[in-house]
Amino acid sequence: MIKKLLGALALSLTCALAFASEGGYTLDHAPDRLNDMAALQNGAKLFVNYCLNCHSANSMRYNKLTDLGLTDKEIKNNLLFTGTKVGDLMHVAMRTDDAKKWFGTAPPDLSVIARAKGTDYIYTYLRSFYRDTSRATGWNNLVFPKVAMPNPLWQLQGPRTMKRVTVHEAETSSGAEQWERTTAQYDDQGYSTVKTDTLKDYHGDPIDKATFTFTSDAQRTAFDNNVADLANFLQWMSEPSQQFRKELGVWVMLFLLLFFVVAWRLNASYWKDVK
């Protein structure tokens, strides 16, 4: 009986976990580079140069970067710009009310952003900016439409064009439902040409697919690589002790296994008296 109940429990738990994953925009999977010090150092460099002007990381100290194999001197010479000390927290000078005036919203602190959003989100989001003349900043984003932030990595990304094909249901002037395919071509300045055609006998799901064209494949690879490093750095920064936690965890588990065996045999030797 108990076994059956446990079985039912296990079954419903697996169902619950299977249902637990869902999402809006399909996210690309970020490569895992949490053990790659060179990648994390590159991510740190990109973070300090491209993010840490508007975004703060108020819980993060510069000298915590020594965990990534950098020395205090290297941090001081390469990553400190405005007279801050190596033991300081990563504050920014931009004031909240100014930020609201300039961008409409204050840039969030990035200390634990990777834990809130996930590395895949950051990786996809930073690679999904496109120029769009209809926006005040000139930039738009596929993952976060009408985002307030202009593309901070535009120099790394270089000029690129985007073709976005969506297949969706639309209402005709007579009020009937029909499927339409919209093809929007954005040039590298953000001017778009949109073409819409009606699909007869379409029986599939809605589609939203965007393809970016870079100036070269090398440019695309380098950019994806940099964003992956940056996303991994943000993941590392969201919990700098995470690698140590996992390493220590192995030893704790080994100790507890040993403890369990001792406790199990101790129990057995006492209980052999109980008839």
Binding site: M1, I2, K4, L5, A8, L9, S12, L13, C15, A16, L17, F19, A20, N58, S59, M60, R61, K64, P108, D109, S111, V112, I113, R115, A116, K117, G118, S238, E239, P240, S241, R245, K246, L248, G249, V250, V252, M253, L256, L257, F259, F260, V262, A263, W264, L266, N267, A268, Y270, W271, K272, V274, K275
Partner: protein, 462 residues
Amino acid sequence: MAGEKTVETTGLLGWIDKRFPLTSTYKAHLSEYYAPKNFNFWYFFGSLALLVLVIQIVTGIFLVMNYKPDAALAFASVEYIMREVPWGWLIRYMHSTGASMFFVVVYLHMLRGLFYGSYRKPRELIWIFGVAIFLCLMGEAFFGYLLPWGQMSYWGAQVIVNLFSAIPFIGPDLSLWIRGDYVVSDATLNRFFAFHVIAIPLVLIGLVVAHLVALHEVGSNNPDGVEIKQGPKDRYGRPIDGIPFHPYYTVHDIMGVAGFLLVFAAIVFFAPEMGGYFLEANNFIPADSLKTPPHIAPVWYFTPFYTMLRATTSDFTWVLSAGAVIAAAALFLKGKLSGAWRIIIPVILIIIAVLMKTLEAKFWGVVTMGGSVVIMFFLPWLDRSPVKSIRYRPTWHKFLYAIFIVDFLILGFIGTKPPSPTLNVISQIGTVYYLGFYFLMPVWSRLGKFKQVPDRVTFRAH
């Protein structure tokens, strides 16, 4: 010395024993407390609950040393603990994992009581203290969850405190009084902190002591539901089927502790967020009173009850109202109530049935949610079966229990999801089953063919 006690012990221990019941307490609760020898896997969870309580108190003390109960500083102080305080991350993860694991072990502990009838006479008070502990635990978890001051902390507290505003007449003022402000704010954070670190823990520890004292007064139940004190005794008057708690169950529970810590450490070190169920992703965004998250879900251990709240729509109150009318009719015509009660209780039920359609559904949602916990207090009197243990109940009873467990899990799962029409219908069916399980227990628990309960506990030597 006048009135000096005579004690068997000598030396320092004798000196103490003359002034304080040390040896006698040790004997009464450990070395000469006779527990049935046939405890099974389910009996680990009581001692494990005590272990988690200790983990929570000890880690809690260290967290309070570094946490700032201030709306402007709270979120950052948690990150300070995670990064700057030596071993702070470990302490914090132990505390956050401990909160969820507390509910895991307590739910399993309660389920054990349900299976083996551990709430039946003479153990009603143990059960009542236990349900009170569960209520305290819910309060403790609720107050504690506000402290990290993330978006889920904030909006979860906002939603739950707003529930009180559904109470007729006093509701809006009551929720204002609880918050201490018009929205959840610094004042709320400070009072929740006080409740979390002082008020509730004091009550909780008192109740745990009462729970154990009551248990040791009447003795432990066991999987067979047989009273070992009524069974055969040895020449010293000790029950033959009982064994001293120490050393037999202390070594046994140490084994349980080792097994539990393996699971606990695996979560703390490898999956402290537990896929977003123990630490929600949204709670890594600082609380913002101007940005409501699109989907506010309580932590998993509250979701079964939260689902019952959401299930109570204005359509659903028809079902509840009809249930009250049928109960009134059944109690009047067929019930065994004596004298005036035969009239009074059905009349009260009819009044409730009418009020269900006159007061707003949100209020009845709160009542359903509260009632689904409070009903557990009455379990000792709802269960009328001639046997205690599930082992000797009719097979179809076991199916009712199995469905009850699955129902509870489904309700819990739905509570983590955004509302949808399909899920709402499922949650309403689930709520009817949950309430029916308890309210109809006086009827169904005595029906069916019960098996013969043995005179002695069933035990196979290891």
